[in-house]
Symmetry: C2
Subunit: 320 residues, 2 copies
């Protein structure tokens, strides 16, 4: 069997893209590494067909990953899992942050389209229509959004919201504040739909809100005034902001109001009270998105990953 | 005065790179946008000299930003500030994470070198020697490291460590645990040097450690057994891990042991007790690094940014 570029990479102890570069752009490879790669290629009888093909077909062995806000601790585990999975398949991942701005998102996608083999689009703020059009230039996998004809990785937010609402109902809560996220967010819509379909609950909606601690902080006094005894928040950052805002008014969590977040991020685990939350499978989503992007048969596939309720200290019995 | 690419971008309401692409790779630009750009160019009498020059000189209007661990909350504010600064100067920023692995770091630098106009290298784990060699392929700015001949953005860790140690000494602490970070870390070395030069303190060193919550957790029982009444930790994550580990052993912070971190990240602000810390100017460093990279005269310049002690709840008087 003929030696492959992977064999050369393994024997010379470098990444496969370095082997590719040794044959396509040798001036960009450090001379010592270049000698080692060429020696290994000679030994193995490797002919750089694949490298040459990669060059002519324009394959880069790079993937782009676009997130709405890199400072939300939800994203780094997803990014790191996607990177590790891609690295295991000889690809690098480059990350760009859109600052929650659809115009920046579009611009970044167009820029990346020329430089990568595919894009993982996480929690996009663009319209589905525009995403469909952009997908003509570069393969996409969309995370946390369902877009017709594109592979999607979804987290079962509806299931998580049901677990959270059942938990609150079991603790005697009836009047529940639903603190949603950005306008048009798929996750917010899923949460609202489940809450509306749950019998016996009296829901008060707050939103749209910034999906950050400040977003939660800004809405806390309205929540307190609403008579709700429990809060289901868009994500953990919002939940932590609500708790902080309630504390500023001397309202204790969970003694007076219970709070549940979504995501399961580090600040929630370190918070006092430790945050009850719906754990989102961010790392699994990152790995799955890379798999869908790199497998050619992935067009249109939708994968839904399960969520889990983690009960900590921020939820308790309703005041009677 | 002849119209520039920026004029065309402003008039047609698109990013300058879209104007560039309209002239260099029109098939990658959405037809409606393309028409708008071409109409604006006609109106203004713009000739795509700069776009053509960018094409021949290989300018990409992209910058790379390499960080040791994107899941450390220290990095996102730096990344976002660098992005905003770059965007204001018509550049995009693509981020890559090295998982604290020098081999991955080298591979990513070599990959990015072909695709960007310059690289911001934050908290590198590579040797200075290798960084100097890699800098022959692509312009670098190094953050949190001093490398001969390369522009560097440093944070005044020594000043921060002095503020922290003075604060502890003022509270009556004499025996202080220094919980350092990864082997070879410039920040750790600075902290150690300052601590060693401070008179009247009895220092106990712990390290090298992973620069994470787990790193702090792993060392907490040794710290407790050392007889130290205060801890100066490599960063906030390590400090939070130490506090968590001490709590598991029933040791209260700050009643029994005081703890100071470095960075000023969100989880420290949300923690109970809220973390006393040395605030690092991460956002300013991100902006400054972009400025140094884009200004051609920046070779070898070193900028040092000041730090500030933020006293919160995790430090108190030494037990007597």
């Amino acid at each position: 069997m003929a030696a492959t570029i992977k064999d050369v990479a393994r024997v010379s102890g470098v990444h496969v893209s370095t082997v590719s570069r040794t044959f396509s752009a040798p001036h960009l490879v450090n001379p010592a590494t270049r000698s080692r790669v060429l020696a290994a290629a000679d030994d193995l009888g490797y002919r750089p067909n694949r490298a040459a093909r990669a060059l002519t077909t324009g394959r880069t062995f790079n993937l782009g990953l676009i997130v709405a806000d890199i400072s939300n601790p939800f994203f780094p585990p997803l990014i790191k899992a996607a990177q590790a999975q891609a690295r295991g398949r000889d690809h690098h991942v480059f990350v760009a942050d859109t600052d929650e701005d659809p115009r920046v998102e579009e611009e970044l996608i167009r820029t990346l389209a020329k430089q990568v083999d595919g894009v993982l689009l996480c929690s996009p703020r663009l319209s589905n229509k525009l995403i469909e059009r952009l997908a003509e230039d570069v393969p996409f996998v969309v995370v946390n959004r369902r877009v017709r004809g594109l592979p999607s990785v979804l987290m079962n937010v509806a299931q998580g919201a049901r677990l959270a609402l059942d938990h609150l109902a079991g603790l005697g809560h009836r009047r529940i504040a639903l603190v949603s996220g950005p306008a048009g967010s798929w996750t917010s819509n899923e949460m609202r739909a489940v809450a509306a379909a749950t019998e016996g609950l009296d829901l008060v909606g707050f939103g749209p809100n910034q999906p950050t601690e400040s977003g939660g902080l800004a809405v806390a006094s309205e929540v307190a005034a609403s008579g709700a005894t429990a809060v289901l928040a868009y994500n953990d950052l919002v939940a932590l902001g609500v708790i902080e805002g309630l504390a500023e008014q001397g309202i204790g969590v969970p003694d007076q109001i219970s709070v549940i977040g979504f995501d399961d991020i580090l600040p929630g685990r370190l918070n006092r009270p430790k945050l009850t939350t719906v754990a989102m499978p961010a790392a699994a989503a990152g790995r799955m998105a890379v798999d869908l992007l790199l497998q050619s048969g992935g067009e249109g596939a939708t994968v839904t990953l399960e969520t889990a309720l983690i009960v900590r200290e921020s939820t308790g019995r309703a005041q009677t």
